[in-house]
Each structure stands twice: as structure tokens, then as C-alpha cells.
């Protein structure tokens, strides 16, 4: 799968490496800002701070 991605990318290996790093950074950013907050809100309620 990732080998196929590497073959699809254009240019010499240095350009491909840059593209891959950019893709990884984009995915990481999307997870940190959108994906993970959604996961925490949906699946991981944090301890209740209310007195009752």
C-alpha cells in the first residue's frame, strides 16, 4: 500500500520524500485539531468535576 503510494508519487526520491513528509504533517495536523478532539468528545468522557 505505502510502496504503491511511493511509486505513484512523481519526481526523484528527494521530491517524493518532501511530498510524503507534507502528507504526514497534514494528516497529523488534521488529527490533532479535528480528529482527536472529536474522539475525546465522543468516546472519552473525562472525570466529572461536579459535586453531587
Amino acid at each position: 500500500m505505502y510502496a504503491a503510494l511511493w511509486r505513484i508519487l512523481p519526481g526523484p526520491w528527494s521530491v517524493r520524500l518532501l511530498i510524503v513528509l507534507a502528507l504526514v504533517a497534514a494528516v497529523a495536523y488534521a488529527l490533532i485539531v479535528h480528529g482527536y478532539p472529536w474522539a475525546m468528545q465522543t468516546f472519552f468522557p473525562t472525570p466529572d468535576p461536579v459535586i453531587e
Binding site: L31, V33, Y36, M40, P45, P49, V50, E52
Partner: protein
């Protein structure tokens, strides 16, 4: 003679179902580990910033509603007569913004009722105990907030010091409170939000503020309470109290 390139000489592996499944599983593992690291490092920065944005947006709404000029600073000293009575908000409705300079750039929205909908909301995050007083009212204005996660407004509540100011801003007024002490209590200590904190049998005799959060961090085993007493108010239309403006400017 031209040498065949290394890439060409290497056999070209074909992706099999197993190799794709393996790569997906490895990727899933990295994503899950990433979540764990994110939860303990970046979660409250990312989600807290969303709550701060909501705080700034709601503050602008309050400015517009009270006729205050956006960046206006009230130069007059705080008033100590009775502040204007606040109308009770509907369940889950946003009605106030709290500033706590000791907790950094802290500007978060208070919603009515201590439901998860308010506590976990990225538009709010601070939850008003619906049976407690309104800001500035005689009695106890009590607010809960997460220690960690979902924006974690009160992660550093334990670092507040005697005399630290808490500014509660509504459409009508800025009510200013001053930290008096902390207390560590079991989760059942309902009298911390009594009109006179810890003295449920005593009728309301002053204007108090109680903040409640989890303790220890990431645990609901106990509660950390911060008590503050009222020091005065200023009309919302006059703008932000000068002292708060100075504290924000320095931060």
C-alpha cells in the same frame, strides 16, 4: 556500459491482502498511540483554545448587548453597592464570561446547569450550578469546570493564590471576586455550593464564588474547591475593569 538502476534491479513486490491489512493495522497503532500522547499533552491546549475563541466571541456579543465599546476600560474604582440583579438563564444557555488572570489568558463562557452538555461543550466549558446564586447576587455563585480534558479550564486551579481576582462578566455588570482559600473534599460534599459555603444551615449573608473541579488530575476520586469572596462590581457599559485590562496587558 550502462548499469541498471538499483530500483529496477529490485523485484517489484506486489501488495497482497495481508500486506495491506498489516500496513493498515500498523497505521491504526500509530494513530492510537498518537491519541494517547495527544490526550496528555496537547488536548487541553487545542480544545481550550476553542473555548477561548468562544469566550472572545461571546464577550463581543455581551459588549454589543450592553452598549460597551469593544476595547473600553473602566477607570472608575469598583462599586460596592448592590450590583444589578441578574435574570436566571435557561438550561444550557450561555450567560457569563469568566476571566482569571492567574490561569493565563483565561476567558471562558459559563452555561446554565451542570450537565455534560455544558461541561463538555467547546462553546462553554464552565457550568453554573442551577440552584446557586447568579453573579453578584447575595449567596454563592457556584461554577464547575473540568480539571483535564474537554478544554480543561481548571487544570491549574490549585495554583491560584490568596487574593487572586476572578472577574465574572454578564450583559449588565462585571462582578469581581477575590480568592480566599482552597479545599479538598469528597465528591459528595454538596455544601460547598451552599449559599454560605460549608454552612448549609446558615442563610445567605454575603456574595461568594465557588469553583469546583476534579482532584487528583484525571480522576473523579475527589474534588478541588476554590472559594472567593466578592469585592465589588462595575457596570458592563463602562468597559473592562482597569485592573483586569492591566493584568491581561502584562500577560
Amino acid at each position: 556500459m550502462v548499469q541498471p538502476s538499483r530500483a529496477r534491479s529490485r523485484p517489484r513486490g506486489r501488495a497482497s491482502v495481508a500486506s495491506v491489512a498489516g500496513e493498515l493495522l500498523l497505521t491504526a497503532g500509530v494513530v492510537v498511540l498518537g491519541y494517547l500522547a495527544w490526550q496528555v499533552t496537547l488536548a487541553d491546549a487545542v480544545m481550550g483554545e476553542r473555548q477561548q475563541e468562544a469566550g472572545r466571541a461571546f464577550a463581543q456579543q455581551l459588549d454589543a448587548a450592553s452598549g460597551a465599546d469593544g476595547g473600553a476600560v473602566a477607570e472608575e474604582a469598583l462599586r460596592t453597592d448592590a450590583p444589578p440583579a441578574e435574570v436566571r438563564a435557561d438550561d444550557r444557555e450561555s450567560f457569563a464570561v469568566v476571566h482569571i488572570p492567574r490561569l493565563g489568558e483565561f476567558e471562558r463562557v459559563v452555561g446554565e446547569g451542570t450537565s455534560r452538555a455544558v461541561l463538555d461543550s467547546l462553546q462553554q466549558g464552565l457550568a453554573h450550578y442551577e440552584t446557586s446564586a447568579m453573579p453578584g447576587e447575595v449567596g454563592n455563585f457556584a461554577v464547575a469546570g473540568h480539571r483535564n480534558g474537554q478544554g480543561g479550564p481548571f487544570t491549574h486551579l490549585d495554583e491560584m493564590r490568596l487574593g487572586d481576582r476572578v472577574y465574572v462578566r454578564t450583559e449588565q455588570a462585571w462582578n469581581v471576586y477575590e480568592l480566599r482559600n482552597h479545599e479538598y473534599v469528597p465528591p459528595t460534599a454538596v455544601d460547598v455550593v451552599a449559599p454560605v459555603p460549608r454552612m448549609p444551615e446558615v442563610p445567605a449573608d454575603g456574595r461568594y464564588l465557588t469553583l469546583t473541579t476534579c482532584n487528583p488530575e484525571w480522576s473523579a476520586a475527589g474534588r478541588l474547591i476554590a472559594y472567593a469572596t466578592w469585592v465589588g462590581w462595575s457596570p458592563a457599559a463602562d468597559g473592562m475593569p482597569a485592573e483586569l485590562a492591566a493584568a491581561i496587558g502584562e500577560a
